[in-house]
């Protein structure tokens, strides 16, 4: 090795030793200062410490807000020269977040499957369109995801965890003053909570049940509108929808401008459907649109009658099966028949969306036959139980007489022997 090379090597070694002895980088001055300042100014720090996904992935304040977190002097660290951007205005927020979230190359380092079209979708939403028109009261990213305590969407504490979504939307959509400006009702949450979807999601914690975003969309949130409400329902209720599509209701509803599924089931307060709706009396019933004399009215009466007859037959059979069960006699076959009947009832309640009497009659007949089987089996079992009791009574009398006779004989023999 030549002497000058030795000098370079020694210099590099010295530099490396010096670097290894360098103290750890200075603390993040954004955090230290804001924590010391306390109050609202400390809120971002304390919020970020609650499990914020950005902090957890190693992003610092400066990665979003710019500035120099190594400078001790606030004037320097928060100076535009050091890239400090400050707090974005509401209309700036989508772009502010979009700097990273709309950049697939940046986002894929955290999750290769993460979508990056949120901002694009947001601008198509009612929220985004209003924001573009200068309305800053509408929701932006931070209204749904929080600002500095942003939790991943699969965290049950996240504002956008399915069970929490209705409450998140309700923060704005339940504000009567705010909603009155848009001519929107402020009781949507209550309506939803009373409905079957709300009950399943909020009371049963069934995350498979739809929250607001499942029908309205997430970032592109918008009302589905009359023409597409059925498409929304169809995504979860395909069988009912298929039957509706081939029913005479479909063209009629289209002509009348009725919102298909929602015309009978409503949209937010989707109550559990009951068979009475198939009748002609009361809210939600066919009688709301059909009047005596029109074919729909007659069909409604007939369909209601069919479904009702199956329900009654099943209830009667179930009562009898219960009676048999109390005797301890095997009821599995009757239960199997009742299961067939239940499936037929379920099918009938789906087939009613065709509003065709013959289709409903056909599936009801299947159920009636099965309920009849359960009824007959149970009747035979109860008859058998009566026979068993009779047989037992007869056998018991015979055994008792035999015991008495044997006892008398024994006494007689013992008496004779003792003489």
């Amino acid at each position: 090795m030549k002497p000058h090379r030795m000098t370079i090597f020694a210099g590099m070694l010295g530099a490396a030793l010096l670097l290894s002895g360098t103290p750890a980088p200075a603390q993040n001055t954004c955090i230290t200062c804001h924590r010391e300042l306390g109050g609202d100014l400390a809120a971002p720090v304390t919020a970020a410490e609650l499990g914020d996904i950005h902090a957890a992935r190693g992003l610092s304040c400066a990665d979003c807000h710019g500035g120099d977190p190594t400078a001790e002097d606030a004037e320097v660290s928060m100076s535009p020269q050091r890239g400090f951007m400050g707090t974005p205005q509401p209309q700036e927020i989508p772009a502010f977040c979009g700097r990273c979230h709309s950049d697939p190359r940046f986002m894929r380092r955290f999750d290769p499957a993460i979508p990056t079209d949120q901002v694009e979708k947001f601008w198509t939403s009612h929220h985004g369109q209003a924001l573009q028109q200068g309305d800053t009261r509408v929701a932006t990213c931070v209204d749904c995801h929080d600002t500095h305590a942003i939790l991943p969407s699969d965290n049950p504490k996240s504002w956008v965890w399915p069970v929490n979504v209705p409450a998140t939307c309700h923060r704005c959509h339940g504000n009567a003053d705010l909603m009155s400006a848009y001519n929107l009702p402020a009781d949507v949450y209550d309506q939803y909570a009373r409905g079957v979807h709300g009950h399943a999601l909020l009371d049963e914690n069934d995350t498979g049940a739809p929250a607001c975003n499942d029908c309205h969309g997430n970032h592109s949130a918008t009302p589905p509108g009359f023409e597409s409400v059925a498409q929304v329902c169809r995504s979860c209720h395909p069988a009912n929808s298929e039957m509706f599509m081939v029913s005479p209701h479909r063209p009629a509803f289209d002509a009348l401008g009725l919102p298909e599924c929602a015309a009978c089931h409503d949209h937010h307060e989707i109550l559990p459907p009951v068979d009475a709706w198939l009748g002609v009396e009361g809210e939600h019933s066919c009688g709301q649109c059909h009047s005596p004399g029109d074919p729909g009215y007659q069909a409604s009466l007939a369909i209601h009658g069919w479904v009702d007859s199956l329900v009654t037959a099943m209830e009667t059979a179930q009562d009898l099966v219960d009676q048999v069960e109390r005797t301890g006699i095997e009821t599995e076959e009757a239960h199997e028949a009742l299961t067939v009947a239940r499936n037929a009832l379920l099918k009938s309640r789906t087939v009613i969306h065709t509003v065709r009497e013959d289709s409903v009659e056909q599936s009801v007949e299947e159920g009636l036959a099965a309920a009849g089987t359960a009824f007959r089996l149970s009747l035979a079992a109860l008859e058998d139980f009566r026979f068993r009791k009779f047989g037992l009574g007869f056998a018991s009398i015979f055994i008792t007489l035999l015991i008495v006779a044997l006892w008398l004989k024994l006494r007689h023999m013992e008496k004779n022997k003792s003489r």
Binding site: T327, G328, E330, E332, R388, L392, I399, T400, L406, L410
Partner: protein, 361 residues
């Protein structure tokens, strides 16, 4: 029977010439049963025997239709109880009499324990009786799985797991019992074989010996009773005791019939190996006290696994109980043994309390 030889039938005379029936009749005529305040316990051996005979009869009838197999056991039993004429009755009588037989065997065993009937010269009567009792438990365990229902499937899993915890022989025993690592159709097939062939064969042989010993040696008089007083009164076995036995058997038969009609034995849902174990799996009531004990023992005691300790405890207790004729020094001198009496009372109290805990938990 008329004792005069000339009054008997030709068939009797024919048999008597060849097998000396007169000697057997003479023996029976002179057979006596001691009569004292504890005589009532003598009847429980007969009741156990009667219930075993019902088991054999109804078991044979069930065999006419029962088809062992994961795809056929439950189905064939369902067919028996719902389609076969009086099939429900045979099945219920079989199950109820099995349980009553175990109960009667428990009473018979404890009454003989407290009256020290095992003492010299009846040691082998006690030992054959204890072996019969263990075999009866084996009948219960193997028969429980045969309907191939959910509860039996998982209870057998738990039961064989416990057997697998026996030190040294546990793992191979588990494989032997199950016919593999898990409870499968092979296990069912094995249990069926044991239940209808192997166990009945051994049981019948032991029962024959047990009855032979009782006939040769007669009934034991409790050590606690003054011998002179106890031997003063007696009743002839034929017809007095035998007829009383028959009367009691008829009462038991009627009880079994009432239970079978008003509480027919449940078939339950078919076993599904892939389904989660249902809540509250329990063995049959006669294993419940051991099951509950194993549940109560901590995971580790003195460096030993709790389950192993429990199994060892019951194993040793069972062995000591079987060998009690050789351990009871008082008994050898025809004297009551207060220590064993206390042990017996404690054992009964423990079994009853733990069984109740098992039922209520």
């Amino acid at each position: 029977m008329d004792p005069r030889p000339e009054s008997r039938s030709g068939l009797y005379r024919w048999l008597n010439q060849r097998y000396n029936l007169d000697a057997a009749l003479e023996f029976a005529r002179h057979k006596k049963v001691p009569l004292h305040r504890e005589s009532v316990w003598y009847y429980f051996g007969g009741v156990t025997l009667f219930l075993f005979l019902i088991q054999v009869l109804t078991g044979v009838l069930l065999l006419l239709y029962y088809r062992p197999g994961a795809d056929t056991s439950h189905e064939s039993l369902r067919f028996i109880v719902s389609q076969v004429e009086f099939g429900w009755l045979f099945r219920s009588v079989h199950s109820w009499s099995a349980n009553l037989m175990i109960l009667a065997a428990f009473i018979h065993m404890f009454s003989n324990f407290f009256t020290q009937a095992y003492r010299q010269p009846r040691e082998l009567s006690w030992i054959t009786g204890m072996l019969l009792f263990f075999l009866a438990l084996g009948f219960g365990f193997s028969g429980y799985l045969l309907p191939w229902n959910e509860l039996a499937f998982f209870a057998t899993k738990v039961g064989t797991d416990i057997a697998g915890a026996v030190p040294l022989v546990g793992p191979p025993l588990l494989i032997f019992l199950r016919g593999g690592e898990d409870v499968t159709a092979v296990t069912l097939s094995r249990f069926f074989g044991w239940h209808v062939a192997l166990l009945p064969m051994i049981f019948t042989l032991l029962l024959g010996l047990h009855l032979l010993f009782v006939q040769i040696q007669g009934m034991s008089v409790p050590a606690a009773l003054p011998r002179a007083e106890a031997e003063k009164r007696s009743m002839p076995f034929f017809p007095s005791f035998a007829l009383r036995d028959v009367i009691l058997w008829l009462v038991v038969l009627n009880i079994v019939a009432v239970l079978s009609v008003f509480f027919p034995w449940e078939l339950g849902p078919k076993a599904d190996a892939f389904a989660p174990a249902p809540a509250g799996i329990k063995p049959e009531w006669y294993f419940l006290f051991m099951f509950e004990t194993l549940k109560l023992i901590p995971g580790h005691v003195l460096g030993l696994e709790g389950e192993i300790l429990g199994v060892l405890f019951f194993g040793v207790a069972g062995l000591l109980w079987t060998l009690v004729p050789f351990l009871d020094r008082h008994g050898r001198q025809d004297r009551p043994n207060p220590w064993l009496r206390v042990a017996g009372v404690l054992a009964i109290a423990y079994i009853v309390v733990m069984t109740l805990v098992g039922f209520l938990s």
